[in-house]
């Protein structure tokens, strides 16, 4: 796995620790919607390095940002809708719209959403678990709360 996948994969492990969302919602009803600023640039550069010699297939495979969604899906067997957006800055409004729409149309009942970015020495991952049933200590899925959590995480976790 490349750095972006490791970051997304591990953050998801922390996010899902102690929860059994496959049983609660089913694998086809769990989606993943992620975003970042640098797409797969970190992996692109690593692959570019190998081109000088013999291009590495194992590095090339990671030169797409949505492979991180693939890795998380493989690990947990999630088959619901998934999307990856590239935007310069974190866009809570976009996530709110996209994920809420999926819930409204009953396409999914549970979703991993957020930001996973990795380039060189700096990285940042802020993931949210959105569920159609409210759990203890959960917050409503609004742009305001998404931003609040993102900013809070940014104060604490800094790549």
């Amino acid at each position: 796995m490349d750095n972006l996948c490791k970051l997304g994969f591990l953050t998801t492990e922390i996010l899902l620790e102690g929860r059994n969302i496959h049983e609660a919602y089913g694998r086809t009803k769990t989606g993943i919607v992620l975003s970042n600023a640098n797409a797969s640039l970190d992996a692109d550069i690593a692959y570019f390095e190998t081109v000088k010699n013999i291009p590495s297939p194992a590095q090339f495979v990671y030169t797409l940002p949505n492979i991180v969604i693939g890795e998380i899906s493989i690990r947990h067997g999630f088959k619901g809708e998934n999307a990856f957006f590239v935007s310069e800055e974190f866009d809570a409004g976009l996530l709110e719209f996209y994920v809420s729409d999926l819930f409204k149309r009953k396409s999914i009942d549970c979703c991993i959403a957020g930001w996973v970015d990795f380039l060189g020495e700096s990285y940042r991952a802020v993931l949210y678990l959105v569920e159609n049933r409210s759990a203890a200590r959960s917050l409503p899925w609004t742009t305001e709360h998404i931003n609040k959590i993102y900013e809070l995480a940014n104060g604490k976790i800094n790549g």
């Binding site: 692109d44 949505n66 067997g77 719209f97």
Partner: protein, 401 residues
């Protein structure tokens, strides 16, 4: 079920033509776009055929009305997006909440490669500030500015299904009353980066590709851009011409199997097609034509074919892979094939699957081999499946009178 969003126009540039008319003519004449590499410089020039857009960046820039220093990806995007708006008969976006949802996978990688080649030879040579135009989102922003779209601009990057995802994302924005009109699809240019990469995966055909053939050897890479114009009911009524068709169904699912390979049963493909049918309220037997993802690789075609066999058991629609004309245009393929699907509905067309010879073992059907006109086509299914397990299907339908 809410009312489906209408498609008012289409625009396309690919190896078989620089606009809709040229693409249609080549499809009718069975003229494929693959040739020996002419515009891209690569060590594989003699060995690997590609489907290039037959213009250099200077000519493309002139056609796009944009400067030639911006990436080929953005130039292709600008040309097809502009045509789509014209094709829809839309002169001005004034007073409309408009959006540009564009997908791509390579961004300005072509420029980055040139830049580093120059820069490594002579560090005074490259202009560092041009690198800003190289990330995936930049191509979308540049074109949106050119089109005068400010309300909603977004870039999706989910590999080869990217632009199909852009199309249904735009439909949702209109349904939710966030936008009145959206141009959606995708763009990608050929680069050494992707060519070398696909070559390491050993899935490039050294001859012209043969999708859905028992003896298929792999895919040919292509480039281009394709966009559809989606409009709300209110805008549709105000247009001088009636909308062409509707986007009646769409679905995305993850295969959850492998980073790049499809699962043998085509689980993700099956879920995407089934979900799109469910959304459109159609039965499998209602589909008149399938524009296949059909890349020509061993893995994709058997997975997609197996999923179709399961879902359409008993009555198989006509189907073909237009990648036998355009090559695999990656992030643009879902957009270009959405355009071809809309044109199939509009003009009653079935496209041939070029160079098809031998039916695949294990599949009870074969793709179409001749161009047909004047067919009764009411519903077209377009498949786009990508690395990362991202699988999408779109269904376009004639508007109910």
């Amino acid at each position: 079920m809410t009312k489906p969003v209408s498609i008012a126009g289409v625009g396309v540039i690919s190896a078989i033509g620089n606009n809709v008319q040229e693409n249609l003519a080549a499809l009718e004449q069975g003229k494929a776009g693959m040739t020996k590499m002419e515009y891209l410089s690569s060590a594989h020039k003699e060995k690997l055929p590609v489907a290039e857009v037959k213009m250099d960046n200077i000519a493309l820039a002139a056609l796009a009305g944009m400067p030639a220093y911006i990436s080929r990806t953005a130039l292709l995007s600008a040309i097809a997006a502009k045509e789509a708006l014209q094709n829809a008969g839309i002169q001005s976006l004034r007073g409309l909440r408009s959006g540009f949802i564009s997908a791509n996978t390579v961004g300005g990688m072509d420029k980055t490669e040139d830049f580093f080649a120059d820069f490594l030879n002579d560090s005074g040579k490259g202009r560092l500030r041009n690198l800003v135009h190289h990330e995936c989102g930049a191509a979308t922003e540049l074109v949106a500015d050119m089109l005068g779209i400010k309300n909603y601009v977004s870039t999706i990057s989910t590999a080869c299904s990217s632009s199909a995802n852009a199309v249904f994302f735009a439909a949702r924005l209109i349904k939710q009353n966030i936008l009145d009109i959206a141009i959606a699809g995708g763009t990608d240019s050929l680069t050494k980066f992707t060519l070398n990469g696909f070559n390491t995966l050993m899935i490039l055909d050294q001859q012209y590709c043969q999708p859905f053939d028992e003896n298929r050897r792999g895919l040919n890479l292509g480039e281009g851009a394709g966009y559809v114009v989606l409009v709300s009911d209110k805008v549709a009524k105000a247009l001088t011409q009636a909308p062409v068709c509707a986007l009646s169904g769409y679905c995305n699912a993850n295969d959850a199997y492998h980073q790049t390979a499809s699962s043998p049963g085509g689980t993700g493909s099956y879920l995407a097609m089934k979900g799109a049918l469910a959304q459109s309220g159609l039965k499998p037997a209602d589909i008149d034509y399938i524009n296949l993802h059909g890349t020509g690789t061993q893995n994709n075609d058997i997975a997609e074919g197996t999923a179709i066999k399961l879902l359409f058991e008993g009555k198989y629609p006509k189907m073909s892979s237009t990648k036998s004309f355009t090559g695999h245009t990656l992030g643009a393929s879902g957009g270009i094939e959405a355009v071809f699907s809309v044109l199939a509905l509009q003009h009653g067309l079935i496209y041939p699957n070029l160079r098809f010879e031998t039916q695949m073992k294990g599949l009870p059907f074969a793709p179409e081999t001749v161009f047909r006109k004047g067919e009764k086509i009411h519903h077209v299914l377009s498949n786009s499946f990508g690395f990362g397990g991202n699988c999408s299907s779109l269904i376009f339908s004639k508007l109910q009178a």
